[in-house]
């Protein structure tokens, strides 16, 4: 997650020369007590959670002694903010506050550059006092102009002796944001003290998801904005995405239970950001609830689509599987069809699936999907660009209703099936997995399988061996998945592509 907690943001502020209250972070009441003891005197205990208005929800409390700090920490650590359980509290010394300022830097999409927002009144609810906020543009090469910051300070009642210090702190916010490639930095409030210090009393910082790769120092586990802590499946999906650069894969879990009145929980598999969102709207408009939002697009490998399908089908309670994207995809759609067909076969899919594969090579894609899934318990239907999302969402509803009437139960995640020769047979490494060759094959079968392998396998005696060098073979995972699916469609059990998904099962 590319959002930093208050204590993490404050560390980055301190590196840039800011003063912050003395303190420490704890994940147990005992730890909180020890920090309070070390600080001495009255302390504040604050939940570390991505939310505004922590004070109003009772997430910021004061303690007069270490014991009280421990008790308060115990209560705060039992809190839940939205979908986030509170896992840490920050314990800090109380400081005497003279003046409070609101300082925020965010990226202004209209101006295509950062913008500082300043206000002379800090505290909660600043979002609702927009008229009191002074915007200051930050040209990338120079940062904010000091004259503008000074002129803002001159309009406040703050003692002029502190203006220089404040000006330099405010300008440093730009430097911090730039160094760590933040999308936003908010210090609310930046305070002055009676003894003439400038202190950052709070900090909220979000790092750009796309820049996290060059900021390993921040230790960000999942660079993705979600409204909950990453789930186990989201962690698994994120690893899959990172491991394969071919195409994008986005996975977010949304609902685990259908709300009252819903027609059911749907495994949702979109293709293309806008098309996925539009398709999500179409299926939700039919009265369904999506369990997850998934998007595989940008010409993904067959293995990426396969792994996405396996992850989607790790969610229990689904009444069906709905795939739809823009419908007029520039990418060759048969790779996605191979990936889906393989996953559906391995899981012996029992719930209806409606997949819109419109775009380049859509006829071939639909033929692969429907042909390969013909023997499954589930009805699997493929659609093309001339089938609208609304129509196929309606069709999905019909199939779900019919399957319920026929007694089909909600989806239970299950172990993937694989041929018996996986393990004892002979295998060859590919990216993220290996190809197993059926040892019990006659030479006629081997010949037919080799013909379906795009020149990647050749017959040697009564078995198959790679026809290209190991490095080239390893890269051709999509074609080998295609070969497996085509063999199966032809009634041939010749090869099996085992694809690893770290952490799944």
């Amino acid at each position: 997650m590319a959002r930093l907690h208050e204590y993490q943001g404050k560390e980055l502020l301190r590196e840039a020369g800011f003063q912050t209250p003395r303190g420490g972070v704890a994940d147990t009441p005992g730890g909180a007590r020890a920090i309070a003891e070390r600080l001495g005197g009255r302390v504040v205990v604050k939940i570390q959670a991505w939310t505004t208005g922590r004070k109003a929800m009772g997430g910021v409390r004061f303690a007069d002694d270490p014991d009280q700090a421990g008790h308060i920490a115990a209560e705060l650590l039992a809190m839940k903010v939205g979908n986030f359980p509170v896992e840490q509290v920050l314990i800090e010394e109380c400081i005497d506050i003279q003046d409070e300022l609101f300082v925020s830097l965010s990226i202004n999409e209209r101006e295509r550059r950062p913008m500082l927002l300043l206000a002379a009144t800090g505290g909660s609810g600043i979002e609702d006092r927009a008229e009191q906020v002074q915007p200051i543009a930050c040209p990338l090469d120079t940062g904010p102009r000091e004259e503008e910051v000074r002129s803002f300070l001159a309009s406040t009642p703050i003692d002029a002796a502190l203006h220089e210090k404040l000006c330099s702190s405010i300008c440093s916010v730009f430097a911090v944001a730039r160094r760590h490639e933040a999308r936003s930095v908010e210090i609310n409030p930046l305070v002055t003290t009676p003894d003439g210090r400038v202190v950052a009393a709070d900090c909220r910082m979000t790092i750009d998801d796309y820049a996290v790769f060059r900021h390993s120092e921040l230790g960000i586990e999942i660079a993705r904005e979600l409204d909950h802590p990453p789930t186990q499946l989201e962690r698994i999906a994120y690893k899959v995405e990172q491991a394969d650069h071919r195409g994008t894969f986005y996975f977010a879990q949304l609902n685990t239970e259908p709300p009252a009145g819903s027609r059911g929980l749907v495994g949702f598999h979109g293709a293309g950001g806008g098309g996925s969102m539009m398709s999500m709207d179409a299926i939700v408009a039919e009265g369904f609830t999506i369990a997850n939002f998934t998007d595989t697009s940008g010409n993904p490998s067959a293995g990426k689509v396969y792994r996405a399908a396996r992850i989607i089908l790790s969610q229990p309670g689904l009444c069906g599987y709905f795939g739809s994207g823009s419908g007029v995809a520039s990418q060759e759609q048969f790779w996605s069809a191979y990936g889906l067909a393989k996953a559906f076969w391995e899981l012996n899919l029992s719930i209806p699936a409606v997949i819109r594969l419109g775009g380049n090579s859509e006829d071939r894609a639909v033929d692969i999907l429907e042909g390969a899934c013909a023997d499954l318990p589930a009805i699997v239907e493929g659609y093309r660009k001339d089938d609208s999302p609304r129509e196929i969402a309606r069709r999905f509803g019909e199939l779900v209703d019919a399957s319920r009437e026929a007694g089909v139960e909600a989806w239970k995640p299950r172990r993937a099936r694989m041929p018996e020769y996986v393990g004892p047979g002979r295998s060859y490494e590919i990216n993220g997995g290996r190809v197993w060759i059926n040892p019990a094959m006659d030479s006629a079968s081997a010949t037919r399988a080799a013909e379906l392998s795009n020149g990647l396998l050749r017959v040697q005696g009564e078995t198959l061996v790679p026809a290209v060098d190991a490095e080239e073979f390893a890269k051709r995972d999509s074609e080998l998945i295609g070969c497996e699916v085509e063999c199966r469609r032809g009634g041939l059990d010749a090869v099996f592509v085992e694809l690893d998904i770290e952490g799944l099962e």
Binding site: G272, G275, M277
Partner: protein, 305 residues
């Protein structure tokens, strides 16, 4: 006329020798785009599909002047995301005035640096994270359509300008319009990111000036303020051609990003309802379901004549 791209424009491809570079060059050449050169450092002297390759954009610029009599008009950038900034700045400094930045996941501070450099040199850019721009029957930059024969079959020439925040949906929108007998002048995918070169209002102003565009169809999304800014231009009388819009993400919830970096509702801003309201009040026809776009556009065009 069309906007941004037509068959008269000299186009270069940065990253032409890569997998993506070669595939997209094939599409562009096959569709009728005048691809005059490609760039990949260290690969000067090679050819890709008959297009000469140079080490630098400055060399490609020289070639364009000598052999094609004019400057390069557009550079299509097809290098990995982390190299986009340097490639784009190189092109801008070599005098290219329009860039198409295709890669996804370009860091936002890089995008801002490109924007600052473009502003300084009066250059403009589409993207990052764009599928590109196509003027049906004329030329394409980027990868819309995937294959030339698909692009030719899917998109019909005509008088409606399409602006989309989604790549796939720019194709879809134009395809379904074409199926309903409504052709398009230019289809522009502005990109899915939050900091973009050409934003929805910028492209709308280009269509406003284009004599071959009678109406604008918009595929908008939750997040950001571009749809609201277009509404403002309409209210101010700066965009007077009719606008028909669909806004995706009605079922999206706040605080979660839906694929596109720009598609996130934060602090109650950028909601579906807010965008629909702003555009409707400014006189746009906003359809509830994506499938209603062609019919609504047909009605708007009929009402004009």
């Amino acid at each position: 006329m069309a906007i941004i791209i037509d068959e008269t424009k000299n186009v270069i491809v940065q990253g032409i020798t890569g997998r993506e570079g070669q595939a997209r060059t094939q599409l562009m050449l096959g569709y009728g785009t005048s691809v005059v050169a490609g760039c990949t450092p260290g690969k000067a002297g090679q050819e890709v599909l008959g297009v000469p390759v140079f080490d630098t954009v400055a060399d490609a610029q020289q070639h364009s002047r000598h052999v094609h009599g004019r400057d390069v008009d557009i550079s299509v950038v097809l290098v990995p995301a982390r190299f986009v900034k340097n490639a784009a700045i190189e092109a801008i400094e070599a005098g290219v005035k329009m860039l198409v930045l295709v890669p996804d996941r370009v860091p936002v501070w890089d995008a801002m640096e490109i924007a600052a450099c473009a502003e300084k040199h009066q250059a403009r850019f589409v993207g990052p994270n764009t599928l590109g721009v196509i003027s049906p029957g004329r030329a394409v930059v980027g990868m819309i359509g995937g294959r030339a024969e698909s692009a030719k079959a899917w998109f019909k020439p005509g008088r409606v300008g399409v602006i989309s925040r989604s790549g796939g949906m720019s194709s879809s929108t134009a395809y379904y319009l074409g199926k309903a007998g409504i052709g398009t002048s230019t289809i522009c995918h502005i990109g899915g990111d939050s900091v973009l070169g050409l934003r929805i209002p910028d492209v709308a102003l280009m269509f406003e000036q284009d004599e071959q565009t009678d109406a604008i169809v918009l595929f908008g999304e939750i997040g950001g303020s571009m749809e609201e800014d277009l509404a403002e231009l309409m209210r101010a009388g700066r965009v007077t051609k009719p606008v028909v819009a669909y806004i995706g993400g009605k079922a999206a919830k706040e605080g979660t990003r839906f694929s596109h970096a720009g598609a996130i509702i934060e602090g109650g801003k950028g909601t579906h309802a807010g965008k629909v309201k702003a555009l409707s009040e400014a006189g746009a026809v906003v359809v509830e379901s994506f499938g209603d776009l062609p019919e609504a556009t047909g009605r708007v065009l009929a009402g004009q004549s």
